[in-house]
């Protein structure tokens, strides 16, 4: 039997993925299949399950049920993590260590010890002149850039970015997105979570997420067209109301409860 790869295999997959914290369904049965080489925006309000979904996809949290696959490998898989980059919502860097020490430490865990390449990663986020500065003496934006450099130093093919632009000024935000597009052009798959709807147009494709479920998936233009509006926020709210009225209260205890 011969396989004809008409479409490339998906970079990130989820099947009936579910995560419960007691009574709360943080991720409530998500199915998705994301082809590689694109930027996916995971859009939804605070507490909608974005971070939990990313942690499930990375194998950092154990799913209550369902499966997650990255690059065809079922997660959690420690070996597979070397092909994945993860920028956490908090900076996740050691404040007392210098910029260079932080970068070389995380890179070493991925087996990346090439100094020239690490210098290049620092230049990319314009921190090459700050290599010796302790991270705690950096500005918030600089720490964010260091955090990104640490997540990308090993040239991952799948990159999860959890609210990467929170607290980042507009000029730097533009730089971040340019960088993301360069990575996607090189073949990487990016899943960027955000609760800022005006970042939607920068993504190749969007996933609206609320109450642990995917409300809709498609390009920004498609979704706005389906919702019959030009505004992406209005589109999100329409999808949200549609889904809420479609579900009976009994099937959705978290809607009525706290």
């Amino acid at each position: 039997m011969t396989v004809t790869p008409a479409t490339p295999p998906p970079a990130v997959e989820a099947a009936a993925l579910r995560k419960d914290f007691g009574q709360i369904h943080a991720v409530d049965g998500i199915d998705m299949s994301l082809p590689p080489g694109r930027i996916y925006g995971l859009l939804g309000p605070n507490g909608s399950g974005k971070t939990t979904l990313i942690r499930l996809l990375m194998g950092l949290a154990s799913a209550t049920s369902g499966t997650a696959k990255v690059l065809g490998v079922e997660m959690p898989s420690r070996a597979n993590l070397s092909r994945i980059g993860y920028m956490t919502q908090s900076d996740g860097i050691y404040p007392e260590l210098s910029v260079w020490e932080n970068l070389t430490f995380f890179a070493a865990l991925y087996g990346q010890t090439d100094k020239a390449q690490l210098h290049a990663s620092l230049e990319l986020v314009e921190l090459d002149t700050r290599a010796g500065t302790p991270a705690q003496n950096l500005s918030g934006g600089m720490r964010r850039r260091l955090s990104m450099a640490c997540a990308l130093a090993h040239h991952p093919t799948v990159i999860f970015l959890d609210e990467p632009t929170v607290g980042v000024d507009p000029a730097l935000r533009v730089q971040f997105w340019e960088h993301f597009h360069r990575l996607a052009a090189d073949g990487a798959t990016l899943l960027v979570s955000s609760h800022v709807m005006d970042e939607a147009d920068r993504c190749d494709e969007l996933l609206f997420i609320r109450d642990g479920r995917v409300l809709a998936q498609g390009t920004s233009a498609e979704l706005r067209k389906r919702a019959g509006t030009d505004n992406i926020e209005t589109a999100f709210l329409r999808f949200a109301t549609d889904s809420a009225s479609a579900a009976t209260p009994a099937a959705q205890p978290q809607e009525t409860g706290r």
Binding site: L60, S62, R78, I84, G92, P95, E96, L97, G111, A151
Partner: protein
Amino acid sequence: MNPLRVAAVFRRIVAQFRRDPRSLALLIVAPLAIIALLGWVLGSQQATAARVAVINDSISPGSGAVVVRLQSALEDQPGITIDRSVGDDSTARQMLKDKKLDLVVILPADFSVQNRKIDLLTLGLNSTAEAAALPAVQKVLISAAADSSAGLALPTIERATVYGSPNATQLDSLAPVVVGFFAYFFVFILTGVSFLRERIGGTLERLLATPVSRAEIVLGYSLGFGFFATLQVAIVLAFVLGRLAIPALGPVPAFAIGLGVHTAGNPLISYLLVLVLGLGAVSLGIFLSTFARTELQILQFIPIVIVPQGLLSGFFWPIEGLPNLLQPVARILPVTYAIDGLRQVMIAGADLSSPQVLLDLGVLTGIAAVFVILAAATIRREVA
């Protein structure tokens, strides 16, 4: 197990310490300061001068002579002064309360040559301090009472010990304990806080997103903190065992650095015991950091984890003297085995051929292994 990743974790911990001189000072300077203070207090403890009164409540014919003999015999002892102005019980008791007397010797009403029972009265506020004056008085009483009886000689007691010398100071027997206990305490606190910071600072989340394994994290941590524990123990042992006399120079009087505690055994074996104890403390710190949310909560483990070990591990009292219910508890505490091993080595001069030392080392290794497993098991615990 990838040695490069273990080395990366190790190097990171060393780098963090280098940039955190306060923690480094806590690890090295604090135990030295405490041990120096302890050595100063215990080493040059002054014999407290005891003021003693002898009271005769007896109507027995020979008792007056006994009182006179007791008074002069007591006066011959160093540090004892006799107050001859006190005549009766109630005055004596009041003077004890007023801190004008330290000890009262009473010949009770039924005292006689046949019934040579003598009462000793002290205030009872600080039993340790009062007990210090008792041996001298008892020694005198035994010989004086024996003399007063018609040729009936009581045995006199001369103390000897198998190990060390009977004149060993409290410092000599406390030194091994202190070395082991500090290593445990500081390594536990520093690892606990350090790992808690990983948890709350988001770096653990990031570590777990890399291909590093739990075993590699625990091993890297053990090597990192083991390195500093080694540094600490080497310096503390050198300070406890060595003694460097500094001669007087100008206005500075002569003084000595180091306690010069006598050790019978090989310091390397002492070090080995403390190292295994410290490695257990690293993993215990990692494990318990799971149950803390703030650095203050790590400190809250001190009364729960550290202080009971200090009380039960033979630090102050021998294990055999503990209540029956507490003895099994003492026998599962790692510090118990470290202290026993250290005493065997430093006082009795035991080496690795001693089954007792091997048992201590074996149990310490076993306990460390259990903590390592517990620590590794909690690292994956979800950071919700």
